[in-house]
Amino acid sequence: MIYMDNAATTRLSETAFEAMRPYMMDQFANPAGTYSFAATAAAAVEKARKQVADVIGAKSGDIYFTSGGTESDNWALKGVMTANAAKGKHLITSAIEHHAILHSASALEKQGYEVTVVPVTPDGVVDLEALEKAIRPDTVLISVMAANNEVGTIEPLERIGEIAHAHGVLFHTDAVQAFAHIPLDVERMHIDLLSASGHKFHGPKGVGLLYVRKGVKIAPFMDGGAQEKKRRGGTTNVPGIVGMGAAAEDAMAHMQEIAAKEIVVRDHLIERIEKEIPFARLNGHRTQRLPGNVNFCFRFVEGEGMLMLLDAQGICASSGSACTSGSLDPSHVLLALGLPHEIAHGSLRLSISEETTLADADFVVDTLKGIIERLRSMSPLYEDFVKNGQDAIA
């Protein structure tokens, strides 16, 4: 099997797994316990807090553990907007955010909050001019992702943070795809809140974090016990947190070499696809791009068929086609880049990890070439294109 869906989830690392193991068996204590048996678990959680805080240059006291990226995004938006309602009810976000952000924003809208969705350039970079123009006296929060999950574009966080703070607006970033993959610094980038998720960097599933800068007003998301400074109730997920911490430390220690390795494979994929498959379009920014992301649209074919044929050859990938979203519309991200529906339906995302080799990449391109050819030979759109010498679907 060749696994090229690391943006969906990654394999748990040996390091993370070994770090977690004792906390599932011998050290099973609830860290809230007052007996000394609980102290080991409590110390392990605090160690992990420091490990993840170091990834973003934050103080460990500003890290709150959650169940994952979706919870962190929900909490950031809903918690900040409700706690700062006295200042205003306006929120700004971008058109290419994850649904955890966009649907949280819609939920807030239903409760009377106002949301401005800022467009992006054809490369997927947030339109900074539009962003600044959208700021109003009652704007409380700007939420823009650190890097896009589908097309891999890295957003200019430092500039966005500067704009936000120049206007006295809080800045949240959904860093689920970027955390522990590319350098992030909450000070330099003026980030007030940041979401991350353990399983995107070889940590376990079901655990994530929200960084909340000290002094930022945020309502609790989970009412319950006194965990996480009474801001997020629920028994502490000790093994998950420990695993995420270990994975974060590991990723931080090797970030540059991992990224360099991935970029070689990524660029090899991009180069071969562009050279060898006609009517292929690279989606996302060519250079300001996650090291592990490749995303193409192949005209005249539809994504699900591609995925099924890749799967038949043991290749795991994903697509933003309608058929994979369960609706008739292709991915909102591809549409926001300005792609027409018919082209967006033919998208393919290959997301690699440091475990992906050049040989894997070659096998995928060789296989893909045949698949695209085969699907095009079955496509009435391609038939019309060939016959009419023009784009019949334009």
């Binding site: 994504g303 068929g305 038949a312 309608a322 027409p340 339906h345 030979s377 496509s379």
Partner: protein, 144 residues
């Protein structure tokens, strides 16, 4: 998510291609929604479907339903071909996930559109044949 039959017809689609000087050609669906089906019919003087071919832009289910629909109408009379409903195509495939039902409607409508084209070219009236519908989702809503 798909039955073995669907996978078989997707992996090994029957009757892919074109028919030159076809008796009737029908294209339905639109690229915006992610699927287009085109069916070519070769119909003899006794109004028997001698051959059928298809081309489809769409998901696995769209390709499988086109393949199955062409298989089901070859050798049938025009009247019999008209009776091959989307339900019959779905049953022959061992069922489809609910979100893919519209693919089977598309296949049914592509056959109807090709028959309509054949009737028009030959100045015939095929009893029970309605003009092709462009938006199959309207049909789906009616049935729902």
């Amino acid at each position: 998510m798909y039955t073995e039959k669907v996978m078989d017809h997707f992996m090994h689609p029957r009757n892919v291609g074109e028919i030159e000087n076809a008796s009737g050609v029908g294209t339905v669906g639109n690229a915006k929604c992610g699927d287009i089906m085109r069916i070519y019919l070769d119909i003899d003087e006794n109004q028997i479907v001698r051959d059928a071919k298809f081309k489809t832009f769409g998901c696995g289910a769209a390709i499988a339903t086109s393949s199955m629909a062409t298989e089901m109408i070859i050798g049938k009379s025009v009247q019999e071909a008209l009776q091959v409903t989307n339900k019959a195509v779905m049953e022959a495939l061992g069922g489809l996930p609910p979100v893919k039902v519209h693919c089977s409607l598309l296949a049914e409508q592509a056959v109807h559109a090709a028959l309509w084209d054949y009737a028009k070219k030959n100045g015939l009236v095929i009893e029970g044949l309605k003009p092709p519908v462009d938006d199959v989702d309207e049909l789906e809503d009616e049935e729902a």
